[in-house]
């Protein structure tokens, strides 16, 4: 591949990667690495190894959980889009649809509560508007350690402020959620955010890079080194280790996201036929968004990395491809309509940059400073070999005893007051008052009710929405826990007078293991039951 461009000088050679098993630092197994070499008939270079490591991670590919997740009952007459896209889409009549999805941002929030939670909101909103939908509500579901601990207080304050900081500024109301406390979460808070959007069915977009010769437009924030994991040998231009570590923290900019959101929705409404695909850059940013869109369409992609807007100097292809800088979108646009679509963004003070094109060869090709720095099959890159999950029953389930716990209550009123004093049960109003729950003037039932109720202007409809967790039950009995979560959520919806029409799950497990399988099989049957019951 010719002379090595300057920023890549410090990268290990393909031989060194193999020799020192560097891929293992990025969670590629030796078997996987060998498969890649065999497939390519050569050793992958540093950039390519990084692409595979990212795309084959569980986080991006669900290589372990997908077979189980397939078992969800995800089709009925309302479902316009089930699992597989940015978000699920359900028909709500009048040519409208509701789009919703939940996502966790646990680790970033544990490391950096404010920015972690804020960027969690930003990310889930991008999933919604990349489908062409207008976000109308945010919900949050949080778990912390016990509140009598200073670290917990720090996390609570930071995470609440982060959700508020992003959601309030972008002007999407945070209408509901829940907060629980348990020692289990002491150092691992759970931060799950759900977003709901309203879609005109005609505007529905999917992430597809169709049409040979179509252009790939990059919109939004410049790419920096934030969120790049793993060993970044190439970053030797940092003078200290501390500095390097900092660059991994993603920082949110709700102001920019609002501009990107409004302009993207406008572009889709005005040029829906010329915009072929839209995807946000989330985990594994540029590579996962572009490769997935190409795979979906069975095409190839050629990107010119010199065109990618860059916030920092001397960035390498590896960094550009794997950066998780926030507030970035990728659009595939018909070649002769680039100017019109770009104009919508220009009007909002944003630039849409043409960084590449859709090709017919099924290849994922990157060029950088006159060199070709990656050339792999799109399909191979995006579809890691499926893996069977290790199955073993978690120890605590084996240990479970047969004796039933029987509470001894001597003074019922004292028991009641002590229950009400528990932070998990006590009112959360002091926390959720930081969220703007009313902006957009649609919130009929605000935080504090059973489920939130958001009306749809211009119709006589409203959407009820809620989030529920049953962590302790799920830990003790995965099957029952899953059932209870579904049932509680359904009860909350029903209590507002609404009919449950769809569920999105957001499962926060440790390493994929038996628990998931059991949990999902069971959720599946419960969901089916519920929806069947609703039809009767």
């Amino acid at each position: 591949m010719g002379k090595v461009p300057e920023p890549m000088r410090n990268e290990p050679s393909p031989e060194e990667i193999k020799e020192n098993k560097i891929y293992r630092d990025w969670a590629l197994t030796t078997e996987e690495y060998d498969l890649i070499c065999e497939h390519l008939h050569r050793l992958p270079n540093y950039t390519e190894t990084g692409l595979f490591a990212a795309m084959w991670s569980e986080h991006c590919s669900y290589k372990k959980s997908k077979p189980v997740l397939k078992k969800f009952w995800s089709k009925n007459e309302r479902v316009l889009q089930g699992p597989g896209e940015g978000a699920g889409v359900l028909d709500i009549g009048d040519q409208q649809a509701v789009v919703f999805k939940a996502e966790s941002h646990n680790h970033p929030s544990a490391v950096e509560p404010y920015e972690g939670a804020a960027t969690g909101v930003g990310g889930i909103l991008r999933d919604i508007f990349s489908m062409g939908a207008q976000p109308i509500a945010v919900l949050d579901s949080l778990r912390f350690g016990e509140l009598n601990n200073n670290d917990t207080k720090h996390l609570v304050n930071g995470i609440i402020a982060g959700i508020a900081g992003y959601g309030n500024a972008i002007g999407i109301p945070t209408v509901g959620g829940e907060i629980g406390f348990d020692a289990t979460y002491q150092e691992n808070p759970l931060v799950n955010v759900m977003a709901v959007g309203l879609l005109n069915q005609a505007d529905m977009q999917v992430g597809k890079a169709e049409g040979i010769g179509n252009r790939i437009l990059y919109v939004g924030a410049k790419t920096g080194r934030d969120g790049i994991h793993g060993a970044t040998f190439a970053s030797s231009d940092f003078d200290s280790g501390v500095e390097k570590n900092r660059s991994a923290v993603q920082v949110g900019d709700p102001f920019l996201e609002k501009l990107v959101m409004d302009a993207t929705i406008k572009a889709i409404r005005e040029h829906g036929d010329e915009i072929v695909g839209v995807q946000d850059m989330g985990a594994a940013g540029l590579v996962s968004s572009s490769a997935e869109m190409a795979d979906e369409a069975g095409t190839g992609v050629h990107l010119d990395l010199d065109k990618v807007p860059q916030r920092e100097t001397n960035m390498t292809p590896y960094e550009l491809m794997l950066s998780e800088s926030q507030e970035r979108m990728l659009l595939v646009v018909k070649a002769d309509r680039v100017a019109q679509v770009s104009q919508v963004f220009a009007d909002a003070g944003l630039s849409a940059v043409d960084i590449g094109e859709v090709t017919d060869d099924g290849k994922y090709v990157l060029s950088f400073k006159g060199q070709q720095v990656a050339d792999v099959d799109v399909n191979y890159l995006t579809n890691p070999p499926k893996q069977v999950m290790q199955q073993s029953k978690p120890q605590h389930l084996n240990d479970e005893g047969n004796n039933q716990y029987q509470p001894q209550i001597t003074d019922a009123s004292e028991t009641l007051t002590s229950l009400l004093k528990q932070s998990t049960i006590a009112s959360k109003a002091d926390l959720f008052k930081h969220f703007d729950s009313m902006v957009k003037t649609n919130t009929v039932i605000k935080p504090g009710g059973d489920a939130a109720l958001v009306r749809i202007k211009g119709t006589s409809k409203a959407l009820a929405m809620t989030t529920d967790i049953s962590g302790r039950y799920t830990y003790l009995a995965p099957k029952v826990g899953g059932e209870l979560a579904v049932a509680e959520a359904a009860r909350n919806i029903v209590a507002t007078g609404a009919t449950p029409i769809g569920i999105t799950d957001c499962l926060n497990f440790g390493d994929p293991d038996l628990t998931i399988q059991k949990f999902i099989m069971n959720l599946h049957s419960r969901v089916k039951e519920l929806t069947t019951w609703q039809k009767n």
């Binding site: 950096e112 920015e115 934030d226 660059s247």
Partner: protein, 71 residues
């Protein structure tokens, strides 16, 4: 680090006609008066305060000036 505030202030100034601005960074500034046995102890206390509360080590760096005042 990403400094969205600095970026927006920069473009604000540019729009106002200050067109030769290359970069704007913004940050916080604290002035703390406190008692300490001597300068060495003061320095240690100060660094502790900064790292424990005043900055977010994940996203911010700092520098400080220490001055002795009469009491």
């Amino acid at each position: 680090m990403l400094d969205p505030q600095g970026e927006v202030i920069k473009s604000g100034l540019t729009h106002m006609g200050f067109n030769k601005i290359e970069s704007v960074k913004q940050g916080k500034y604290f002035e703390i008066k406190f008692a300490a046995a001597d300068m060495e102890q003061a320095k240690q206390e100060l660094v502790k305060m900064i790292e424990a509360l005043l900055i977010n080590a994940n996203t911010e760096t700092y520098r400080y000036d220490l001055k002795e005042l009469e009491d």
